[in-house]
Amino acid sequence: MSEYLLEMKNVSKAFPGVQALNHAQLQLKAGHVHALMGENGAGKSTLMKCMFGIYKMDEGQIFMDGEPVTITDPIDALSKGIAMVHQELQPIPARPIGENIYLGRYPIKKLFGFIPMVDHEKMYSDTEKLLKKVKLPFDPKQLVGTLSTSQMQLVEIAKAVSANCRVLILDEPTSSLTQREVDSLFDIIEDLKKDGVAIVYISHKMDEILRISDEVTIMRDGQYIGTWEASSLTTNTIITKMVGRELTNLFPKRENVPGEVVFEVDDFTSINPKSFRHVSFNIRKGEILGIGGLVGAQRTELMEGIFGIRSHVSGVVKLNGRELKISRPKDAIDHGVAMLTESRRESGIMGVLSVADNISISSLKKYLDYGFAINDSKVENLVQENVHKMNIKTPSSKTLIQSLSGGNQQKVIIGRWLANDPDVLILDEPTRGIDVGAKYEIYCIIAELAKQGKSILMITSEMAELLGMSDRIMVMCDGRCTGFIDGKEASQEKVMDLATQFE
C-alpha cells in the first residue's frame, strides 16, 4: 500500500501558445487537507481539471493507492471516487436541490417491476439526510435558483460529498461564503477527514489555508515549486514562494511622463450588490494604471461597468472634468474611451470575418464616401498602417481573423480601438493566452501609447506584468478598492497584502 492515496507525477499540459503545466506533481494523503497554492494562472485549476478528467494530460501519470490509473472524463473520475467542486458553479437553477444533487445518477425504481422510473421519494429522503449531515437547513424540493450564490456553493459541496468520494477537490470554495458558512464548511471538512477522504483545497485566503490544511503544495508558472507541512509556513513565506521570481528585461523601458488628471471615477457601485462598490480612482494623461487583485475581485466587472457593458447604480465618470453619461459601449466609444475585453474569443474577435472587417468595425464611419459608401481602400490603408506599426502577421487583410495566432488577433483588436484615437484605453488581461514573444511586443505597444499621452487602465492577473508595466497600481479585493501603490515602491508582497483584505 502506497503512502499516498493519490499521486500525480510529471504532469504537463499545453494550450495553444501557453504551457499551462510543466512537469507538475501532487501527492495526497488519506485524511489530510492538502492546500494547492499559486498565483492566478499558476496552473492550479488546470492540474485539478487533469485529475478530474476534464482536460487530457499531454504527459504524466496518475496513481491511486500506488496503482497507475487513467481518468478519461469526469464520469470516470467520479466512479474512481474523485469529486470536484468547481470555481464556477454549474447548477441547474430551475430544478430542485434534490435533482441537482442526484443529477445523472438518479435513484431508479421499477414500476410494475419492469418500467424503470426515477424514485423521487428515495431521492428526496436521501437528499434530506445528506443536507442534515452537512448541516444545511434547506428543503430538498426547493429550487436551486432561489438560493443565494453562497448557498448554491454549499449545495455543490453537499453534492460532492454525496458521491462518497475518496478525493474531494475544492476550488476556491469560500470565495462567496460568509464567515459563518465558512465555519460550517470547515466542520464538514473535519468530518470528511475523519472518514479518510483526501481533500485538495485551493484558495487565496492565507488564514484559511493555515487554519485548515495539513500540507501545502505551491505552484508557479505551471511548475511544481515544493510541498511543505502547513505548520512550518507563515503567510509571508507562502507569498514569497508563490511569486518569487526575478523580473529582468521582461518589459520595455517606458518613457511616458504622466501629466494632469484626465479621467476620474467617483464612488462607482454596481447594480449587483456582490460586485464592485464605492470605487473611486483617477488616471493621468500618459499614465499606466495597473489594476491588481485576485480572481473574483470584480476588476473586470468594474471596468465593464465604466464602459457601459454592465449596469451601475451610482457613481460618476468624468473625462477632462466633464461628466460622461455612459449606458452602453457606444456611448463610451463616442467619448473617447476604448476597452479591450478580457475574453478575446467571446467578446473580441468576430472569427468568421476578415482582418479588415475586424479592425474597422468600430470606426467604419470614418471611411465613408458621400456619407454612405465604405471606401475599401481607406479600410485597406488602416489595415496596412496597423500591420506595419504593430507587426501583425497576416497573409492579407482578407484573411479570416480566426486563422491568426492569439497574439496577432490581439493586435488586430488593439488596432480596432486605436482607429478611434481614444484618450482612455482600458486593457483587460491584454496578454492572456499569448506566447512570450508576442507579449513583449504588446508591452512595447502599451508603453508607446502611454508615451503618446493616452491614459491606460490595465487589469492583469500576472504579478510580473502588473509590477513591470504600471506607473501606479490600484488593488481590488472583493469588489472594493483596497489601496493604491506607487509603481516604483510596489512589491509582490504589498499587492498580495492589499488583494487579500477580505472583510
Binding site: K330, E346, I349, G351, V352, L353, S362, I374, Q402
Partner: protein, 343 residues
C-alpha cells in the same frame, strides 16, 4: 488552422478550383448535374419558355430570400416570410381590383392607382417587419419564436380581411406590366421580373458590402457581443434587418399576385422554408456571419431548378415537399459539418 474554403488558391487551375467549389457546395453541383441529365433525357426541358418560367419564378423567390438572408446572417430566421408574402398579395389584390369587377370584395373602396397600392403594401410590410424587429431586438424573444407567432398572426389577419375568399379581377395595367417581357425572338424573351430582381440584387450587394449597415450585420452574425462592445448599435441594426425583410416580402407579394393573376390567403405558404433553403444551399451559414448575395441567387436558382426537374420527371407533385425538405436538411447538415470539423 487552414483558411476557409472560400479563399480559393490562386495557383490551382480551373480543374482545381472547380473541385474546390464542388467540395464546398456539393448540393449545388449535384442539383446542376441532375438537371443537365434530365435536360438531355426529356424533351422540352431546354426551351426558351422553360427558361422564362424559371427566371420569373426565381426572381420573386430571390426577393424573398434576400429579405430572409439578413435574418439568417445574424443567426436569426424569419418564419413569417411566406405569410407576409401572402398578406401582401391579398392586400394588393383587394386594393387593385377593377372598379367594374362584380366580385369586388370591398365595393366602397374606389379603384386605386397601382403605384399607390404598391406604396400601401410596402408600408404594411414595413410595419410587420418593424414589429418582428422590435420584438426580437427589444424584447429579446428568439427570432424563431417571434416569427412563428407573427406568422400565425399575419395569416389570421389575412383570412379575416379576405374572408378566406379568392381574389381576382385585377386591373389589367397591373398584371400586364408585371408579367411583361422584353423581346420575343423565336420564343426567346426576358421577363421584366428579371430586371427587378437584378436591381434588388445589386442594391443588396451594395448594402451588404459597402455600407455600415451591412458590415454591422455581418459583425452581429460573427459575434454579437463583440459587435456590441465595439460600439455597434446591435438593436437598431437587427430592427432594420427585419424591417427591410418585411418590405421585401411585401414587394414580392405584390409581384406574385400580378404574376398569378389572383390571390388568396393560402398564397405564399411555405415560401419561408424555400427562401431559407435557397439561402442555405447558397452558402449562407446558420452559424452566423457568413453569406453573400450571389450565393443567395445561386441557391434560389438551384432550388427552383430542382422543382422544375421534379416536374419534368413526372414526379407526383406531392413528393415535391418530401424532396425539398430533404434538400433543406442535407444542406444545413453539410454546412454545419464544415464548422464542426474546424473545432
Amino acid at each position: 488552422m487552414p483558411a476557409l474554403s472560400n479563399t480559393s488558391d490562386k495557383k490551382a487551375g480551373f480543374g482545381g478550383r472547380f473541385l474546390a467549389l464542388a467540395k464546398s457546395n456539393p448540393i449545388v453541383v449535384l442539383l446542376v448535374a441532375v438537371s443537365i441529365v434530365v435536360g438531355f433525357t426529356t424533351s422540352n426541358f431546354f426551351s426558351w419558355g422553360n427558361l422564362g418560367n424559371l427566371i420569373s419564378n426565381t426572381a420573386i423567390r430571390f426577393l424573398i430570400a434576400l429579405g430572409v438572408s439578413g435574418c439568417l446572417i445574424t443567426k436569426g430566421t424569419d418564419l413569417s416570410a411566406g405569410r407576409q408574402v401572402g398578406l401582401a398579395a391579398c392586400l394588393a389584390g383587394v386594393l387593385i381590383q377593377r372598379g367594374d369587377y362584380t366580385g369586388r370584395l370591398y365595393k366602397n373602396i374606389p379603384e386605386m392607382n397601382m403605384w399607390v397600392v404598391l406604396l400601401i403594401v410596402l408600408a404594411v410590410g414595413a410595419v410587420i417587419g418593424l414589429l418582428n424587429g422590435w420584438i426580437i431586438s427589444r424584447l429579446k424573444v428568439p427570432p424563431f419564436i417571434t416569427t412563428l407567432g407573427t406568422q400565425t398572426i399575419v395569416y389570421g389577419f389575412c383570412l379575416v380581411f379576405t374572408d378566406a375568399q379568392p381574389i381576382g379581377g385585377f386591373q389589367s395595367v397591373y398584371t400586364r406590366l408585371i408579367t411583361g417581357r422584353i423581346g420575343n425572338v423565336k420564343g426567346f424573351y426576358l421577363p421584366y421580373l428579371l430586371f427587378v430582381a437584378a436591381v434588388f440584387g445589386i442594391l443588396f450587394w451594395f448594402i451588404y458590402n459597402k455600407t455600415c449597415h451591412g458590415k454591422y450585420m455581418y459583425a452581429i452574425g460573427g459575434n454579437e457581443v463583440a459587435a456590441e462592445v465595439s460600439g455597434v448599435n446591435t438593436k437598431n441594426t437587427l430592427l432594420k434587418i427585419y424591417l427591410i425583410a418585411g418590405v421585401m416580402y411585401a414587394f414580392a407579394g405584390y409581384l406574385l399576385a400580378a404574376k398569378s393573376g389572383g390571390a388568396s390567403a393560402s398564397m405564399g405558404q411555405g415560401y419561408e422554408l424555400e427562401a431559407i433553403a435557397g439561402c442555405t444551399i447558397g452558402g449562407v451559414s446558420t452559424t452566423g456571419g457568413i453569406g453573400t448575395v450571389p450565393g443567395v441567387l445561386v441557391g434560389v436558382l438551384v432550388f427552383e431548378l430542382l422543382k422544375i426537374v421534379l416536374q419534368f420527371l413526372g414526379v407526383n407533385p406531392y413528393y415535391n415537399y418530401v424532396v425539398q425538405g430533404l434538400v433543406i436538411v442535407v444542406a444545413v447538415a453539410l454546412d454545419i459539418r464544415k464548422y464542426i470539423a474546424k473545432k
